[in-house]
Symmetry: C2
Subunit: 281 residues, 2 copies
């Protein structure tokens, strides 16, 4: 497995692959791999001739009071796991390589960035769209894989790729879950034992919501939101950031439930903010 620590090195690798006419798959990550990440890599390995994984904890998508500094990192372990899965190259730039000098350019995706996590994390999706644009320009992949756990991110990237004419196919891969349903996340490592127990509240309330919608027992978003709120509030150490019920395409909230329906949650467990979602189709 090739490990490239700067733009120039990874470009050399990719140029060779391109000359050979190989299809390049790309999985952008912030590292600290769990099985969710590995599933994205496997998806790319299935679909492309060569797979590149980037590991970059991008400072511009973190707010001033967020966890950029404490975000978990373990590059050696990540490299072992990526190699085991069969990844062809890992790109691990440092911040100076990605942002040399004074960057003035932002890619912004309007409308889709305003609700859900965009509301709680101002500037977050501007940072994401910009760094993904940079990575796309460096790697020039044919396909790129994103997890559906970050549903809003996936929709924003899809919109951006369409609007800016990137010649890249975007693939959304299903959420990977722990034995009890908790969506896998690098941030799960922040949880205390007790918080970890309560963290099941996200998946649990999504499944309750799914049943209520599919059975037609609830017709109004407000009512569904209230049920979810009560469910989550029943678990200790929880604080709801948002409960979003709306259209999975436009990411606009709805009043009357209709399929397809996106139910998306952000919940604090102690100081750790977790997200999860379900699309009811």
């Amino acid at each position: 497995m090739i490990v490239a620590k700067n733009k120039e090195d990874i470009k050399k690798v990719i140029t060779k692959w391109k000359v050979d006419g190989l299809k390049v798959g790309f999985v952008p990550t912030m590292g600290f791999f769990h099985d969710g990440h590995l599933s994205l890599m496997k998806e790319s390995l299935k679909r492309a001739d060569k797979t590149i994984v980037s590991i970059f904890v991008n400072p511009t998508q973190f707010g001033p009071n967020e966890d950029f500094d404490s975000y978990p990192r373990d590059t050696e372990r990540d490299l072992r796991l990526a190699e085991k899965v069969g990844v062809d190259a890992v790109f691990i730039p440092d911040v100076e390589d990605m942002y040399p000098g004074n960057s003035k350019t932002w890619v912004i995706v309007e409308d889709l960035s305003k609700n859900l996590c965009g509301r709680s994390r101002p500037g977050h999706f501007r940072g994401v769209a910009t760094v993904v644009t940079k990575l796309f320009n460096i790697i020039q992949p044919d396909i790129a894989i994103f997890g559906q756990k970050d549903f809003q991110q996936l929709q924003i990237i899809r919109q951006m790729v369409k609007d800016l004419d990137f010649p890249i196919e975007i693939v959304g891969a299903p959420i990977y879950r722990e034995f009890d349903g908790l969506a896998m996340s690098s941030r799960n490592t922040y949880l205390s034992k007790e918080e970890r127990k309560s963290a099941i509240c996200l998946y649990k309330s999504l499944k309750i919501a799914q049943n209520l919608v599919e059975s037609g027992k609830i017709k109004k978003a407000k009512e569904l939101q209230e049920t979810i709120r009560r469910t989550i509030d029943g678990f200790p150490f929880t604080k709801i950031d948002y409960i979003f019920i709306g259209d999975p395409e436009s990411l606009e909230p709805v009043d009357d439930l209709k399929k397809p329906l996106l139910v998306a949650l952000a919940v604090y467990l102690g100081k750790t903010r977790l997200i999860d979602n379900i699309v009811i189709d």
Copy 2:
């Protein structure tokens, strides 16, 4: 010469060139060619194996009270001229091909967009940066040529390419001028006979400024600005939009004159807004 009227057609052409390992040069234009445009094409033909010219009057870079509808167009003449110069392909998409559906994504370049034309034309450079990003992603050129008449545009594109890691070399080509010094522009065709005579005031005041700065007779930007203002005001049908005196890199105004110095002008001749500039080095 290949004429491609939509994205898919031009992509097929470029894919073939890329497979053959050819270097692709790109000249984005809004058409209605004059010798300035042709000089950009010649620059590309000199530097690249294949040259693509795009003709697209981009609606998103025009303000609501600007001349999008009346902007001069003559595709047949443009195609003849491009072919004569030796251009390999012309890309002429229509608005629906470039902006299908509801586009939500903008590329913005902060700081550099705020002065000069950015002040008079809010949203203009956002439109430029976004459409150039789209064109870069469609054409995937190795080099792209921009005229120095639109000095601010050139600096913004350079910054964007650096910040977003586009693998594209940006070349700035010198201003092409009429016999009397008027910078060539498609908008010159708007001018009445009398306005055309007065239009020389831009070049004339830039040359006066150059002499005053190079001889050291003037040390303060305010004084230089006043001299330029008086010169332009001496011509009939003129109305000054801005006189910018500042740093050609940061596009920030200066108080004390120092080289390199950018002097940039926007002046209305009747209803027609013309720009010109000089870098005193």
